[in-house]
């Protein structure tokens, strides 16, 4: 029964669909539309990186157009990481740059008519979990277990761990809120665009381009920036100021 709430008899459809079913160690696993759009995004990124790699390898002293663009992108991303993480930046330039480019291409892949991969919680949650893992690893790398325990009981002294459960919950909320923020933003944009195209039919001719600029480009870029910014902030907080 699909005849409820705007899905009635039209092609308004924002859900992830299973395309191909296979069995993985006895589990039923699906290849979904998210996988397909992820594949497209990855192909675009891999192709771009190969071309950019060739252009940089035989780079000229006076760069041409394409080399200029590639250098500009790398410089901007590195500058963003340097500005936020300071002296810890060198180790994280690669990861944050990759993350930024991946998320922004995923977000604006709605322009290509794909369902953005980031509008699937199965894509954003692993990204949040990676951030969480980075935070935990760095915390244990740069602090003694005693300090971490004292930090987890923080408003009260370390021998009185009343706040410990609350701090644990607030730490566990980090990946969830990170991934839900990205997911919900992209999903709401997708739903909005689907509603415009599905409900207005022929009337939605040229002007939805403006909506695309807002929902796909602006919102996607902001959320990408925020995700990377928060990842960097959490990681440098975990590293701490000493050393």
């Amino acid at each position: 029964m699909h005849s409820v709430l705007l899905t009635a008899g039209s092609d308004i459809d924002v859900m992830v669909h299973g395309l191909f079913k296979y069995s993985f160690f006895g589990h039923e696993v699906w290849i979904t539309t998210t996988h397909v759009s992820l594949l497209f995004v990855m192909l675009i990124l891999i192709g771009f990186s190969i071309v950019a790699g060739i252009a940089i390898r035989k780079g000229a002293e006076v760069p041409g157009n394409f080399q200029n663009v590639v250098e500009l992108i790398v410089e901007k991303l590195d500058g963003m990481v340097d500005g936020t993480m300071g002296k810890n930046a060198t180790k994280y330039r690669n990861y944050i740059g990759t993350l930024f480019i991946f998320i922004i291409f995923s977000n604006i892949s709605g322009l290509l008519g794909l369902r953005p991969p980031t509008a699937d919680y199965g894509v954003t949650f692993p990204l949040g979990v990676i951030t969480f893992t980075l935070v935990r690893i760095n915390q244990f790398k740069y602090h003694k277990p005693k300090e971490i325990w004292a930090d987890m009981c923080s408003p009260l002294p370390a021998w009185l761990p009343i706040w410990f459960p609350i701090n644990v919950i607030s730490e566990l909320a980090v990946p969830i809120s990170l991934s839900l923020r990205l997911f919900a933003n992209v999903l709401s944009g997708t739903i909005m665009m689907t509603l415009v195209y599905g409900l207005l039919k022929w009337f939605a001719a040229v002007w939805p381009a403006a909506l695309h600029v807002y929902f796909d480009l602006f919102s996607g870029a902001i959320q990408t920036y925020v995700f990377c910014m928060l990842t960097m902030t959490y990681v440098s907080n975990a590293i701490g100021s000493e050393e």
């Binding site: 029964m1 409820v4 709430l5 924002v14 859900m15 809120s177 839900l180 923020r181 919900a184 933003n185 999903l187 709401s188 739903i191 902001i222 959320q223 920036y225 925020v226 910014m229 928060l230």
Partner: protein, 87 residues
């Protein structure tokens, strides 16, 4: 007490409408953040870029609560969890 599908769907729609009231909070918060950022740029125009990025970051974090409300509404409308027990 038995409830039929239509009743639960109607209540889900009402609940979804109530859930997106959560959007009021982030609206107010983002407005305050933008206002203060504008005041800060007026006081110190040289720091415009860093003020803008701080403002956007803060606004995006403030937006999260509203997005939770939106998410609850989306779940109620499209996933229909309240119907799971019914037929």
């Amino acid at each position: 007490m038995e409830f039929n599908r239509e009743f639960i769907l109607g209540c889900s729609a009402i609940g979804a409408g109530l859930a997106v009231i959560a959007g009021i909070g982030p609206g107010v918060g983002q407005g305050i953040a933008a206002g203060h950022a504008a005041a800060a740029v007026g006081r110190n125009p040289g720091a415009k870029s860093s003020i803008t990025s701080t403002m956007l970051l803060g606004q995006a974090v403030a937006e999260t609560t509203g997005l939770y409300g939106l998410l609850v509404a989306i779940l109620l409308l499209f996933v229909k969890p309240l119907l799971w027990g019914v037929n």
